[in-house]
Amino acid sequence: MEGSSRYGRQIAFKGVGEDGQARLSRARAAVIGVGALGTAIANSLARAGFGFVRLVDPDRVELGNLQRQALFDEDDAAAGSFKAEAAAARLSRINSTVVLEPIVARVDASNVDAVIGDVDVVLDGTDNFESRYLVNDACRRRRLPWIYGGVLGDSGVSMNVLPDGPCLRCLMPEAPEPGSYETTAEAGVLNQITAIIASIESAEAMKIVIGSPRVRRTLASISLWDASFHLLEVARAPSCPLCGPSANVRR
């Protein structure tokens, strides 16, 4: 079959196997944001053989994206192609068995439920906390796993937000105000850290949809310039508006 030749190396890995590959082929993922993280995530999921990948981003490709946004080229930048569409077009040539659904839109309160409503896992490729909190709250309501990832400078963090674990609000009760925090435009960002965080998100998404018992339950933090790698134990916060005892009463 096509699967064994295309995915042979992945199936040979015991954590995946034939059964895991079959589950991947039925798995549905949404990638929110198709920039540095999102392109690397989408590349990974499509090559790995996810059945369906939704790509959501409102922006067009620019020359300044090419330093780190893996699926785009100078032609895309010159044409001003939409990122979601350019990424889907490229990935369709890499793995035509994956159903790719580009959506040219910013995730907001009006569309978040539609964007995440029919998938198994949501992956974070956004560049802002407003979108992340929207996704966090919407996924929490549906008990849907999503994977937080963020980068800045040489550093990145990622956490799996699982239905029975802490959510983003357990760590950061309120979203940092827009304009109050450093962005990659100011602090810069290395393409190596975006690739690493995207790979971590993608591997965790594979584990989640395969049903692996090895899904990570810690907050991962990596800084490349001083070569430090940390996994921090985190817990649900009793004060969390979504996960704490008062939230349970309201539900």
Binding site: V151, L152, S155, G156, V157, S223, V234
Partner: protein, 74 residues
């Protein structure tokens, strides 16, 4: 009392990764942040012993305080 501050991402610049800090009894996380010249807006994830904490949380000898800035790029 002495606490351990573990700084992450851009908060390490000019400060270091892991710092042992002497504080007077009754000091809070806010006092620790002030000692490290970390402003309120530069604090996103704040964990004391792995649990989310508020800035007014009183610290105890030996506490491990992990502080992340908002890491929001994508």
């Amino acid at each position: 009392m002495k606490v351990e501050a573990r700084l992450f991402a851009t908060l390490r610049e000019g400060r270091g990764k892991v710092l042992g800090i002497e504080l007077p009894e009754g000091a809070t996380v806010a006092d620790l942040a002030a000692r490290l010249t970390i402003g309120r807006k530069d604090i996103a994830i704040l964990l004391v012993g792995g649990r989310d904490a508020a800035l007014d949380k009183p610290l105890s000898d030996g506490d491990v305080v992990s502080i992340f800035p908002p890491v929001g790029g994508g």
